[in-house]
């Protein structure tokens, strides 16, 4: 049970999608449904971003803008309703933002776990919809030094890149690190023309104008490991510069100088963003008498700049004033620093295995730029928790958890830098946000039971989760010109309360396995950005008012995983997901929630060759994903038609000069299908998803 956070070193060929219940049978999360992807599978299914790779898992979707930027969505909940936890510390970026992507290098991940279900009792606010948990590569068990080089190329957006990873151990001291660099051009879609409203935007060579990007990331870790004590320091930095579709950043069609933009498919013009995420984490473990103690300390700095040409919207001055201290191309800047700490103590008391703990974080958010959406703010949060697992008998475990959270948010005031016209020909610099201070308290709980019936494992869990309102929901008061919306926060919102019932049935036999995970969820007050029927002339500069309101919401759904190995070398896999949300009160009663994923079924057929002298772990697989049409929409969304997409994968390890070179080839969107993804931002402007994409990677291990 030493450091359960370490993944299994063994690489798993045909069992990528596992139910991790057993791995965590003796931990508090054992009651939840957990899907695990190891580093090998992440490479095998590699898509443009970590979340797009993970979205193959049933119940997991990516909310993306283009192929290289996306954030997690679990069972239809995303943004601040899913927590991403890396090395025990909650990852903090600008999750609320429309064009924010998760700042994590997918090549650095040792294993990824998806915890579906109400996980607030584990990680507090934001884990209301689930958790993406990322773990580093397993440390070596014996002295040595090893690593690998990996180079890759992708045809669709002419990606060239590579990563280098190394790790070593001497006695009790371990160290490791990695470096990734990716350079890609504008991506291609299977269409020559995109219709942003009625305006036809011609694409040169089917390239989505100005979506090129560059990424450079590194990680370093070092520490001490023994049976009784371990302490590891993790340092990482993620840096990306990425362009956005120049003809419509948001909903507004834009004319661009095509001669300038189409000169090269690799240059990055406006609009674009650069994001730097620095992270320093220390994880320590102490086995002290009958207690197991974990101490996680973290510091993160998320620095995000959004660049665009200055465009005078509404009452903004037609020419950018020379006396402005904000650079003319800096539309928005978000600078966030977070300090976090988690303490956990696990011990046994009779038949009970108890865990008590606390966590706290402090964050400081600063804004800049000529455009305003949310004010600067500071936030403190702390939580106290206790879990209990009671072994009723050999096959039955009962789970219980209780957690209390307190948070305090203080938002700063903000005033426009330009005059707006008010009633009666008066002008004024509008105060967009006034100082606001709010405190939130939440008490959540979870009870469950797990029981093994022969080859069937059953779990049932009922829990209450919460999420404290964020700065945007409380204090937004800005015009998002890209979306023709004037977003109005509501300072009196209370923390979201959600009740969820989860079931999990897994059956496994020698040649087959199946898992069904239905859930039912009720939100007493889901915080929702409601598009009203009104416009605001003065504060909103004539744009439609979008107000943060609360509504009651019912959600339900299920995921299904079936795998069958009729012959030793053949495997069939079926992955299905269904989720339905409905607002039960408020202005949008009867409507769904935004970005509701459509039901889908993925079928995969894999063949694994027998190992030979020269080739090892050779595989061939083809999968087809059928996604139903999505007619459950809410303004301003559109219906999204059904589609099916095929992917092909193959790979092998070639024994060459004492090392095994890993070769992989993927053809994503094999038939260059033109389709739209309902959870993509570019869906709103009817921009299809990426076309056919060949991905070739070569890995050379050493040591």
């Amino acid at each position: 049970m030493f450091l359960p956070c370490y993944g299994q070193e063994k690489s798993i060929q045909l069992e990528e999608v596992k139910v991790g219940g057993r791995r965590y049978q003796r931990a508090a999360e054992g009651i939840l449904s957990i899907d695990i992807l190891n580093a090998d599978s992440i490479q095998k299914y590699q898509a443009g971003s970590l979340m797009q790779t993970l979205s193959r898992l049933p119940g997991v979707n990516a909310i993306g803008i283009g192929p290289n930027l996306s954030k997690p969505q679990i069972r239809g909940l995303g943004f601040n309703r899913v927590a991403t936890v890396e090395n025990g510390i909650k990852h903090e970026g600008q999750q609320w933002g429309l064009d924010h992507g998760l700042e994590i290098d997918q090549f650095s991940v040792g294993s990824a776990e998806v915890l579906k279900g109400a996980s607030s009792f584990l990680y507090g606010s934001d884990a209301i919809g689930g958790v993406i948990r990322l773990l580093p590569p397993t440390e070596l068990r014996e002295d040595g030094f090893k690593g690998n080089f990996n180079v890759l190329t992708k045809s669709n957006n002419a990606t060239y890149g590579g990563s280098f990873h190394a790790q070593g151990r001497k006695g009790h001291w371990v160290f490791g690190g990695g470096f990734t660099h990716l350079d890609y051009a504008d991506y291609k879609v299977p269409t020559d023309t995109v219709y942003v409203y009625n305006y036809a935007v011609r694409l040169k060579d089917r390239h989505v104008r100005n979506t090129a990007g560059r990424e450079t990331h590194f990680q370093l870790r070092s520490g001490y490991i023994s049976d009784r004590f371990s302490s590891i320091l993790y340092l990482s930095n993620y840096h990306t510069k990425l362009g956005f579709f120049a003809n419509a950043h948001g909903l507004e069609p834009r004319g661009v100088d095509t001669a300038l933009y189409d000169k090269s498919s690799r240059d990055i013009g406006f609009p674009s963003q650069t994001v730097n995420h620095l992270k320093l984490i220390n994880r320590s473990f102490i086995d002290w008498d009958k207690h197991k103690l974990w101490i996680d300390l973290g510091y993160q700095k998320n620095y995000r700049q959004e660049y665009n040409n200055y465009t005078a919207h509404g009452y903004m001055p037609p020419v950018y004033p020379q006396d402005m201290t904000v650079p003319i191309y800096l539309e928005r800047l978000y600078d966030k620093q977070i300090y976090s700490m988690t303490l956990k103590d696990q011990f046994s008391l009779a038949k009970h295995r108890l865990t008590i703990g606390a966590n706290g974080d402090y964050q400081d958010n600063r804004i800049d730029g000529w455009s305003f959406l949310i004010p600067s703010y500071r936030q403190k949060a702390m939580g106290l928790f206790a879990y209990d697992q009671y072994l009723l008998d050999d096959r039955t475990t009962l789970y219980g958890a209780l957690r209390y959270d307190y948070s305090h948010i203080h938002t700063s005031s903000y005033q426009d830098w330009f005059d707006s016209q008010l009633e009666g020909n008066q002008t004024a610099r509008i105060v967009r946000a006034s100082e606001l201070s709010r405190r939130f308290n939440s008490l959540v709980w979870s009870i469950g039971a797990g029981r093994q019936f022969g080859s069937v494992e059953t779990k049932i869990n009922l829990g209450k989760s919460f999420r404290a309102p964020i700065a945007q929901e409380l204090a937004a008061n800005g015009v998002n010109y890209h979306y023709f919306s004037y977003e109005k926060g509501n300072g009196s919102l209370s923390p979201e309360q959600s009740y969820q019932l989860d079931l999990s049935l897994t059956w496994s036999a020698k040649k087959a396995s199946a898992a069904l995970t239905p859930f039912f969820n009720y939100f007493a007050n889901y915080i929702y950005l409601n598009p009203t029927s009104r416009y605001d002339q003065y504060y909103g500069a004539g744009n439609q008012i979008f107000e943060y309101t609360e509504s009651r919401v019912r959600r339900y759904g299920a995921e299904l995983k079936v795998s069958y190995q009729p012959l030793k070398q053949w495997k069939v896999e079926l992955l299905g997901e269904y989720v339905r949300s409905e607002q039960l009160s408020g202005a949008k009663k009867g409507y769904t929630l935004p970005f509701s994923p459509a039901p889908s079924i993925l079928m995969d057929l894999s063949w694994a060759a027998k190992n030979s002298k020269h080739f090892k772990d050779t595989y061939l697989s083809i999968d087809c994903k059928w996604t139903a049409a999505q007619y459950h929409v809410v303004p301003p969304e559109e219906f999204t038609p059904a589609y099916q997409v095929f992917n092909f994968r193959t790979g092998t390890q070639v024994n060459f000069a004492k090392s095994a070179i890993q070769l992989r080839l993927q053809i994503q969107n094999l038939f260059d299908k033109k389709y739209m993804d309902h959870t993509s931002f570019y869906r709103l402007i009817a921009l299809p998803e990426q076309g056919r994409n060949f991905i070739l990677s070569i890995g050379v291990p050493f040591g």
Partner: protein, 163 residues
């Protein structure tokens, strides 16, 4: 023992299946509005149209027929310059485009109107005075309309203001 397990398994499977079905098969009780409102700018009386010209120092009347399948909410007019050719109309057809220039005193108009009585159709009429001292040139005339459910439609028309 084995038999017992099968029974329990069957029972649990049945419960799970019923649970999903009960949830999934619930009929949508009330139909919700999923249609956007419309802005008609093609009729003879509609003004301005794509490539319309207006003389500065005069007044004109914006006229358009707005419609929705259920009930209209409000509309909004926004006039801003397009001297840098950055704004695009949503309409097909290129108009006379003047050379790129720096605005000095461009015409800016923001006007929102609540449509009274939640009608399904509304003939919008709004008198707009164009001051005599504003910059002539290419402008963008934007019309937005909402319905009661919060659906919205935008239309951007390229116009020219002449001296």
């Amino acid at each position: 023992m084995k038999l017992f397990n099968m029974k329990v398994l069957q029972k649990y499977t049945l419960i799970a299946v019923l649970f999903v079905m009960a949830a999934a098969c619930k009929k949508d009780k009330e139909s919700i509005d999923t249609e956007k409102p419309t802005i008609a700018i093609d009729s003879d009386t509609a003004f301005p149209k794509q490539c319309s010209t207006i003389k500065r120092g005069t007044s004109f009347t914006f006229r358009s027929t707005l419609a929705d399948n259920v009930a209209l909410g409000s509309y909004s007019i926004d006039v801003h310059h397009n001297f840098d050719h950055h704004s695009h109309s949503t309409e097909i057809g290129e108009c006379t485009v003047e050379a790129i220039k720096t605005p000095i005193k461009p015409f800016v108009l923001v006007k929102t109107v609540n449509i009274p009585g939640q009608p399904q159709q509304y003939n919008a009429e709004l008198q707009i005075d164009v001051p005599a001292d504003i910059d002539p040139g290419n402008y963008h005339f934007m019309i937005q309309v909402t319905d009661l459910a919060g659906w919205s439609t935008q239309k951007g028309i390229s116009i020219r203001i002449l001296e």
